[in-house]
Symmetry: C2
Subunit: 105 residues, 2 copies
Amino acid sequence: MTTKTSDENTETCKAQALLKLLSGKFRPEVFRLSLNGPLRFSGLLRDIPGANKQSLSTALRELEEAGLLERKIISEKPLHIEYYLSVKGKSLVPFFHQLESIGNI
Amino acid sequence: MTTKTSDENTETCKAQALLKLLSGKFRPEVFRLSLNGPLRFSGLLRDIPGANKQSLSTALRELEEAGLLERKIISEKPLHIEYYLSVKGKSLVPFFHQLESIGNI
DNA sequence: TTTTGTGGTCATGTTTTTTTGACTTATTGA
DNA sequence: TCAATAAGTCAAAAAAACATGACCACAAAA
């Protein structure tokens, strides 16, 4: 375990970056709500208690940049934007379940 | 903490609290190092680049309070304190592995 | 007895994160 | 045309997290 290269360090950093991303304000809520179907900005603002535009905007952007959410412009009917879980995002679901079950110990 | 059974909000909060705890400064490093054996304050201070007493102290205390680390006073020989992974702490290991593998997608 | 090592705390300052509120662009409904 | 909804942005303030340096208690070694 003597720092061979930046091997192990890099691994830690990856986990760390993801942890940081997921632990930020409203991110777990956004994540959980995304399980029920596509999200909309205004809907989240209404549904998440205490949410504010800026933080929500940052959360959505960063989750999208990390490839966990996908942003889709819906050009029909009442023109709006939908965010939904990507495949990568879905791969995090069991991870959250695990975390929650550990939280209950 | 008014634990309402099967309240989804409460579940999220649990994941959130744990995420926050694990994502704080030096926590992933402390966690990883704890896999190799018992930790000592001064050792961590030496081994983690950029570490400082205050943050390390907070990290250890919070990880202990969450039941992930155990603090043991070793009264023999050169009188010191050891921190080591609890059973609950060990249950987080696969979780970190999962996180790392997702980070690589 | 002065110094060194271990394991911290405390007050303070800096940095990062989060919140607030004003403003924007575009679409729709009355 | 006026107002409302949707999806934001921007600058600034407030709050939370983190870092720094001084200090403390105890033990053992020089």
